[in-house]
Symmetry: C2
């Protein structure tokens, strides 16, 4: 378990967590525009899944008026925010990063308490969150995302061609739903918020109930950054609420123009339905479910099957299997080499201790799903992880599980393709390459597909590749899917049900495109043109001019 | 009426139309893959709206099996088609253009019979259709649409960064619905088909029942081009069918991965609902309804109000008002100058003869809508066009209509914001600039907004601009919206209900983006990488490398 490998994580009950004062700055508040507001609709507490105890303080939940205020402020801020110079927008993103770092260790402590995740992992995640904000600052300064395009007037042509200029503008206020499994990198100031703010959209976050204190700390950091950078009130708000109604109200509010969500298939589809039923339907970017198939081609199995098995198991149990890119399906050709891989994987997995899952609800869903798998005909349990390793006893502990079946069983049983959120995976033994291709063709949309191959496998890999392209957002060779780089070429997306919109990514520089749309300016007087479309190109942008890309 | 200005249009009953033989090559057939097929589900005939008579021959309609065949062939063609060299794909588009021109005058004759549109307009539209295909051939060769992006591996970093490469791939088979009002440019081989084929997607067209013969001629041209260019069977099919079921079945077919549609709000929304209810929801690009507001700012009214009025009326009655960008709303400040403009517009409009509308259904809907307007309190009829001018008598004749009301009436009556498809427009007299801005803020999403302004109007124009940016896809100054240039900077799109997806355009080079999605390749062996992502950049593409745009 990676949990135990975190040297900087002193464990519960140590000095690291006992200091009441460190949490004194958590007040149980929301952020609405410039104000820290205590909601009065009801109250909620955070929960420590390891100790199975509630955590102080109480958080007030948003009233209908609180939600309306946040949305109206966002709407009012929208034109002012998008009109600000790109440099100021970039500085805002960088200042958010600085303010998050300035929170100090209390952020890691609180997030660890609320999520059961180890400090080392959360420190890494904080680094990633800060890097995402800085990457988008660069993207904003670069200005390529504006896709500035100019077609010169042709007054002599019959009929004359007008002067045409195009740029991308922000969609307007964006609702962001924090994810349970990345309390920093996919939450209050995570990838969705960073890319929406970079696009020029105000953001209203619905905090995830699994990390309320973490959310308040980060939301206050964003508020401070907004003040320091002279942002209009309403560029950022964060709401707290119980149950589904607040999310439905937020997505249904007319001021909201797009939605970013990471979570369950059920939750994502509910938001899609609400967004589609609005008077003005809006796009929902929901990252939902994926079982991330891993293909073990014969050459790779023969050459390195034994070393692959522990790597696969490490990827499977990383973060107690609570990664969107968790490898929940392994596909190989039946035979001795797959049997050897299976035996080695079983051995590695049996040595893995159980780990605290993010919430009691996720833990229960995992336990129930594993129980249900027990009754699937043709499915064999190959191995389970060990029980609770922590001397003190550990709440919400999820134990890894590895299953095996043949391809016919898999193809006949849609339940085996459903995501189990946690450290569970199914191995599929295929008769031959044709059956392996049939399994690939049968798959639903996925975030990733992994291929382990050597030069001996190029032929079958070449046949597999176009099938996988149709099914997934990222194809990786000879690695494991659980690391998601934040860079320019990353795609964290994929066909339904991996996401609700396969045309986009929620990680990486191009995530900004989700919150933009094109506007054309025809014969608009030069005084009224935005900077990025003026003849002199004062921002020095790369632009497409009469169909030719010109670097600024 | 522009109809009467078409010198090359000899009129019904002349030699141009009497030759039965010219239509002998219209067989009443569909195209399914490589085959011309006569549907056996039922039969349909084209209709001449001017003579109100059916036109030979009978067209057979698609059975359930015909539809399944077309979709399955498209699915089978998908990987082979997208794997073809870009040069071959570009040649295919150019060959379609050549084959359409090679049909000769019979195409214009048949389209004129079926649509009531004059030959000159249809010849222009054919030119535009051919130019669209050629523009997309250029876009394909250029390869910028692939958005090739490379992030180098950083093996020394902790953790190491893998090699990451991204490109766009086609979504898969696209269903295209021909539009009634552009029987060539937005139909069988129109903008949706051209951009989908350019993206690498096979296309299944549902022919519009208003121009069945035109559709068959063009579909056969596409089939010939596909054969000549060695395209896989199924890259293009065209189906014929009565009623809504065939469209629902097409959008619901699992092989279809995206939909292009131009038509009514009701029709577009029905397809959106069907697509969303699929097991795998798919994007629908529906261009639906727009009333294209035209703002007459005080300086412009004072300086050139008298000359603006006839220009506006010409734009309003162009194509008997059956343009998506028809100016259905005119907004000005109440006063003498607006009164003078109104008087001049009334005079110009009263001199316009009625024109044959595209179909009996469109004509009836127009007549009913005009009748309904008569009962709106506070709305005054300013002028109507004249009756039938054609000596022979003219069927389905739509007479222009211009109305006037104050802003309060408009703001209180949502029906006045509904599109009337035809030559009808409402003028709104505002008390002051604040009320003009209130009207702008109140508007639903639109394809276009037009501003007539002089240098004296820069202040109010500057206040109007950000509001219009939020509402429309194209903002034009001192012109009329009915011309839509096919170029790189064009945006023919806009917020709901103008379209179902404001993030896109259906006209211009970037229309190709609708049918693409990104895929990331992580540590994929160089032998398996697509050309556009190889180190040597064999296609000479512009690529983003480590975040820097580099021209190839």
């Amino acid at each position: 378990m990676i949990l135990t490998a975190a040297a900087s994580f002193p464990g519960r009950g140590g000095a690291f967590f006992s200091n009441q004062e460190t949490f004194m700055n958590i007040q149980g508040e929301m952020i609405i525009g410039r104000q820290a507001v205590r909601g009065s609709a009801g109250s909620l507490r955070a929960y420590n899944p390891a100790t199975q105890a509630e955590i102080e303080p109480d958080f007030g939940t948003a009233t209908v008026d609180d939600l309306a205020s946040a949305c109206q402020l966002a709407e009012q801020a929208s034109d002012a925010y998008r009109a600000m110079p790109l440099e100021q927008r970039a500085r805002f993103l960088e200042t958010i990063a600085e303010k998050i770092l300035a929170i100090g260790p209390v952020l890691i402590e609180r997030a660890a308490q609320e999520s059961g995740l180890p400090a080392a992992r959360l420190e890494g995640e904080r680094g990633r969150t800060v890097n995402q904000l800085r990457l988008f600052a660069k993207v904003v300064r670069d200005g390529h995302f504006l896709e500035a395009t100019l077609d010169a007037a042709l007054p002599q042509r019959t009929p004359p061609r007008p002067d045409l200029r195009m740029r991308k503008i922000p969609l307007g206020p964006v609702a962001v739903f924090g994810a349970s499994n990345f309390p920093l990198a996919f939450s209050v100031a995570g990838g969705d918020t960073a890319s929406a703010l970079a696009a020029g959209c105000p953001v209203v976050v619905k905090a995830h109930n699994a990390h309320l204190g973490t959310s308040e700390l980060v939301a206050k950091a964003v508020r401070e950054a907004a003040e320091e950078c002279g942002m209009p009130e309403g560029v950022f708000s964060m709401l707290i609420g119980e149950g589904n109604q607040i999310g439905a109200d937020l997505v249904g509010h007319p001021a909201i123009k797009a939605v970013g969500f990471t979570g369950s298939r059920g939750g994502g589809l509910a938001l899609v339905r609400i967004a589609a039923a609005r008077r003005e339907p809006i796009p929902v970017y929901a990252e939902m479910s994926s079982i991330n198939p891993l293909f073990l081609l014969p050459g790779a199995l023969a050459e390195k099957g034994a070393t692959l098995a522990p790597g696969f198991v490490d990827s499977l149990v990383l973060g107690v299997g609570q990664f969107c890119t968790n490898p929940g399906l392994v596909i190989g050709l039946a035979g001795e080499q797959l049997e050897a891989f299976t035996a080695a994987a079983a051995q590695a997995l049996a040595a893995k201790g159980a780990g605290t899952m993010l919430t009691a609800g996720i833990h229960k869903a995992y336990v129930d799903a594993i129980e249900k798998r027990g009754g699937v005909p043709g499915l064999t349990l190959v191995a389970r992880g060990t029980g609770v390793t922590n001397a003190e006893g550990q709440g919400c502990a999820g134990q890894a599980a590895l299953y095996l079946c043949d391809a016919a069983t898999f193809l006949a049983n849609p339940a085996l393709e459903e995501e189990i959120f946690g450290p569970a995976s199914v191995m599929i033994a295929c008769r031959d390459e044709a059956e392996m291709l049939a399994v690939a063709n049968h798959l639903e949309g996925q975030l990733t597909a992994t291929v382990h191959a050597t030069s001996a496998d190029l032929s079958i890999a070449g046949q597999l590749l176009p099938v996988l392209e149709r099914k997934v957002g990222r194809i990786l060779f000879n690695g494991f899917p659980t690391g998601v780089e934040v860079s320019h070429a990353m795609v964290h997306g994929g066909p339904f049900p991996a996401t609700s919109d396969s045309r986009t990514t929620s990680v990486g520089a191009t995530a900004i495109e989700r919150f933009l749309r094109p506007v054309c300016y025809q014969d608009v007087p030069s005084e009224l043109l935005p900077q990025e479309l003026r003849d002199a190109n004062p921002l020095g942008l790369a632009r497409v001019i009469d169909g030719q890309l010109r670097v600024g």
